[in-house]
């Protein structure tokens, strides 16, 4: 048997040991490959997707590749860690360092090659699944059909063979062969409970408080300015949180015998502190990666909702029509007929209301104000399903659009409240209060007055016609078709909310898809980190539980320990990430001054739910494995 054969057989016959490492490598390849499938999808290279989206994809691809590198390196180092004892034995039996490095090198090339091939195969399946999701969730006009991704395969194969080659060289060179005795003691040797310094623990808390405080405090454009420093501070804080603060807390817990020596706590905490170094690193990575995922998806989703919800809110009607300033009455009449015809063509039941918006002079010159008859207002309010106003004679109410954003200057309502409605006879009517509504669209706000008051207003300086249609519920598809036609035939004059939303979603679809995909990839990676962490320690755990079972450990106690152990591993980084994500999304909502609570809750809530399901699944298999080993 040559040494090469030995290395080869070592992998094949030690399958179980290698499987975790193999799986995590395969997973990484799969993620990259799936991404490549989309990046090189003919639909995207067709040119119809905008430049920014393509650039975003390229950046994301790079991040994923770099990330793969670290992930594989990390998996590899903990894999080698668990094999210390084996190396020790080999050295004791007379293997030279060179031989061991050579063995590790060959193994990695071998595993790397298998992982790359398997990852590509798994990626094909994964891509198909993602496409199904994308098709159902997003509007992507270029249908992302499934194609045979030759280019993606070649690129993935080359990149990863290269990556595994680099890592193999890298690892076999840095694999410093420690003192033999340390190797032989292997896993029994403490990896050293990391020291926790009080100062650094306090610093961790401070950094997080400052980071959060700043993120929550700043408003508007300042959010952008503060973003990078806050990210750095919080990342650092998170790192210290896991490496210092948590170690510190566990140490204190261990020192407190009435807690540490209580029932199964000893089993739980001794293990936690024993693995704290590895765990801290995993926790940190998982927390940060998940935060990226949450924030990416939350931001895109929030942004989309900001665009679409805003439009929906300010447009309560299905179709609105407002002519150009110079349009004659004939043209207007023609237009309205045309709109009605189109609506009829599509079999849409819609009610129509029209109004003549009349503008009057004010005290200040160059400023006109819209004054509306209460009955007109109420007709439109009824059409749009908003609350009608009841005015007393000689009353005026200021109406302001809640969604209207006026950059700088006083709010529209403030100006109007200070001023008043002038009547023909020289009298003035003071406005009584402000109402927010979207019944009529006028960015500067307007007065609504009692019909009788309106009679006494005199001549308006100008007037324009506005017509609105409201379709009955449940005709979405027809309305979309009509909107498309209206958009083509009466560009800019007729406005269909549903069609504009559709257009926005369409333009946003690919970007959202990429964001969603990256988010999912990062989140799934975080999950696989945890999985890998858990299962590298599985053999040791089994050993431990086997020993304790001999002394006497009930099933319930075993379950309790394992349950808490996995729960801590799975939820402590995710909870931190959820908090980070919530803070980030709050900052985002401050930036746009737009309430994102609903969107943030949906995104964060679904991630939390997925994590819980993942936890239950993993726990089920883990407990099963441990139980089987102690029988």
């Amino acid at each position: 048997m040559t040494f090469r054969q030995f290395a080869f057989n070592n992998v094949l016959r030690n399958k179980r040991l290698y499987i975790a490492y193999f799986l995590s490598s395969m997973f990484t390849v799969m993620v990259f490959f799936t991404f490549a499938i989309f990046a090189f999808h003919p639909a995207f290279s067709g040119g119809s997707v905008n430049e920014n989206a393509l650039f975003g994809m390229a950046v994301a691809g790079g991040i994923i590749y770099v990330f793969s590198f670290f992930f594989v390196l990390y998996s590899m180092s903990s894999f080698l860690q668990s094999r210390k004892k084996e190396f020790g034995l080999l050295i004791m039996l007379g293997a030279s360092n060179k031989q061991i490095r050579w063995m590790v090198f060959l193994e990695n090339i071998f595993i790397g090659f298998l992982a790359t091939v398997a990852g590509i195969l798994a990626g094909l399946v994964f891509a198909k699944a993602i496409l199904l999701v994308a098709e159902n969730v997003l509007i992507i006009s270029e249908s992302l059909y499934f194609y045979f991704p030759t280019l993606a395969i070649v690129i993935t194969l080359v990149s990863f063979i290269f990556l595994f080659f680099c890592i193999s060289v890298f690892v076999s060179v840095i694999l410093r062969t420690n003192k033999l005795v340390n190797l032989i003691k292997g896993d029994k040797q403490s990896k050293g409970e990391p020291k926790a310094s009080v100062i650094l623990s306090i610093l961790a808390a401070l950094l997080l408080i400052v980071g959060y405080g700043t993120a929550l405090y700043v408003k508007g454009v300042n959010v952008v300015v503060a973003m990078v420093p806050v990210i750095i501070v919080v990342t650092l804080g998170t790192y210290l949180l896991f490496t210092q603060l948590s170690v510190y807390v566990i140490r204190q817990l261990k020192r407190n015998k009435s807690i540490f020596w209580r029932k199964t706590n000893m089993l739980l905490f001794s293990d936690l502190s024993f693995r704290m170094k590895d765990n801290a690193r995993t926790f940190f990575m998982v927390a940060i990666i998940s935060t990226v995922a949450f924030s990416a998806i939350g931001t895109l989703y929030g942004f989309q909702s900001y665009l679409t919800k805003g439009i929906k809110e300010v447009n309560p009607y299905t179709v609105t029509y407002s002519p150009w300033g110079g349009d004659s009455e004939e043209i207007i009449e023609q237009d309205i007929n045309e709109i009605n015809a189109i609506l009829q063509e599509e079999n849409i039941d819609a009610k129509m209301e029209s109004i003549e918006l009349t503008y009057f002079d004010t005290h200040e010159k160059d400023r006109n104000v819209l004054i509306v008859r209460a009955s007109d207002y109420n007709r439109f309010a009824a059409l749009g399903g908003e609350t009608e106003l009841s005015l007393k004679e000689n009353e005026a109410i200021v109406v302001e659009q809640s969604g209207a954003v006026v950059a700088g200057g006083p709010k529209a309502s403030e100006v109007l409240m200070k001023s008043s409605v002038q009547l023909d006879n020289g009298q003035e009517v003071q406005p009584s209060h402000v109402v927010e509504s979207e019944v009529l669209s006028e960015i500067n706000g307007y007065y609504v007055v009692h019909d009788k008051v309106y009679e006494n207003l005199g001549r308006p300086v100008r007037s324009e016609i506005n017509v609105a249609w409201k379709a009955n519920e449940g005709q979405h598809d027809q309305v979309l078709d009509a909107g498309k036609k209206l958009n083509e035939q009466l560009e800019y004059k007729a406005f269909s909310v549903d069609y504009s939303l559709f257009e926005i979603n369409k333009a946003f679809g690919p970007i959202l898809f990429i964001g969603l995909f990256i988010g999912i990839v990062f989140f799934v990676s975080a999950g696989s980190f945890l999985y890998f962490r858990l299962f590298t320690d599985l053999e040791g755990e089994k050993q431990k539980f086997r020993s304790i079972a001999k002394i006497g450990l009930t099933q319930a106690e075993l379950k309790k320990v394992v349950n808490r152990q996995i729960a801590l591993l799975f939820f402590s980084p995710i909870v931190v990430a959820l908090i980070h994500g919530a803070v980030a999304l709050t900052a985002l909502s401050h930036m746009f001054d737009y309430n994102l609570i609903e969107e943030a809750s949906i995104v964060l809530g679904s991630f939390a739910l997925i994590q819980i399901i993942y936890f239950l699944l993993v726990r089920f298999f883990y407990v099963k494995q441990v139980k089987r080993s102690i029988m």
Partner: protein, 254 residues
């Protein structure tokens, strides 16, 4: 206290192997019994069956009138940590815990009070001479020290039956004498029944009775009588009668 009737164990495999054959054995309360026999004769197998770590193929085991093999898993776990104490051949200590924590582990699982645990642990530590290493981790102590830690852990909950697989296997003669006197004093003071597998005639001579096994069958037994020196001589004689040179035994373990 302990009663085995017609216990047999067959290891299934490519070739079924009968490791124990119709063993009948009875141990009184407070009795100290040593089991000896050539390597591969079935001593560890027997101990595993008594300690409920393994099931007998046929036959009955009774401890204090109960058959532990008929208990549910949970009841069995409780039974183990309340009634039985083990000293394993390979110590079976947890490397993530300190010596002291290892010793109190069975009590913590039962939810004992910290003060009680501390007292018991330190009392045992003093009598076993391991007080100075109580805060060390298990990889920082010697084999003999680990052996004593394992003994302390097996005794902390004052079991009714203490089972030991070669408790002196890792010790020099001075240390093994200490450990043996320790076991004897527990046996006498606490009235703990003791069953010990050993290859060491010296250690065996501390017992009240030595049972010899060969090829999975009871071969013979000898009682101690008054004189320990004479007992020791009888053990040596029996060993050489059973299978050549007595020295053969001391080098072989599981």
């Amino acid at each position: 206290m302990l009663k085995l009737s017609k216990v047999s164990k067959v290891y299934e495999g490519k070739v079924a192997y009968r490791a124990l054959n119709d063993i009948n054995l009875e141990i009184e309360k407070g009795e100290f019994v040593a089991i000896m026999g050539p390597s591969g004769s079935g001593k560890t197998t027997l101990l595993n069956i008594i300690s409920t770590n393994d099931q007998p193929t046929t036959g009955e085991v009774e401890i204090d009138g109960k058959n532990p093999h008929k208990l549910t898993k949970n009841a069995l776990a409780k039974f183990r940590r309340n009634e039985l104490g083990f000293i394993f051949q390979d110590f079976n200590l947890m490397h993530t815990l300190t010596v002291e924590e290892n010793i109190v582990l069975p009590l913590t699982l039962d939810g004992a009070r910290v003060k009680v645990m501390k007292e018991k642990a330190s009392k045992l530590a003093v009598s076993l001479g391991i007080e100075s290493i109580m805060n060390k981790r298990t990889y920082e102590i010697s084999g003999g020290q680990a052996q004593r830690v394992a003994i302390a852990r097996a005794m902390i909950h004052e079991p009714k039956l203490l089972l030991a697989d070669e408790p002196t296997g890792n010790l020099d003669s001075k240390a093994s004498k200490d450990v043996m006197s320790m076991l004897v004093s527990i046996n006498e003071k606490e009235k703990t029944s003791l069953l010990m597998v050993t290859h060491d005639p010296q250690a065996a001579s501390y017992s009240d009775r030595v049972v010899f096994i060969r090829d999975g069958k009871l071969h013979s037994e000898i009682h101690r009588g008054e004189n320990r020196q004479a007992f020791f001589q009888k053990i040596i004689d029996m060993l050489s009668l059973m299978g050549g040179d007595g020295n053969d035994f001391s080098s072989v373990r599981v």
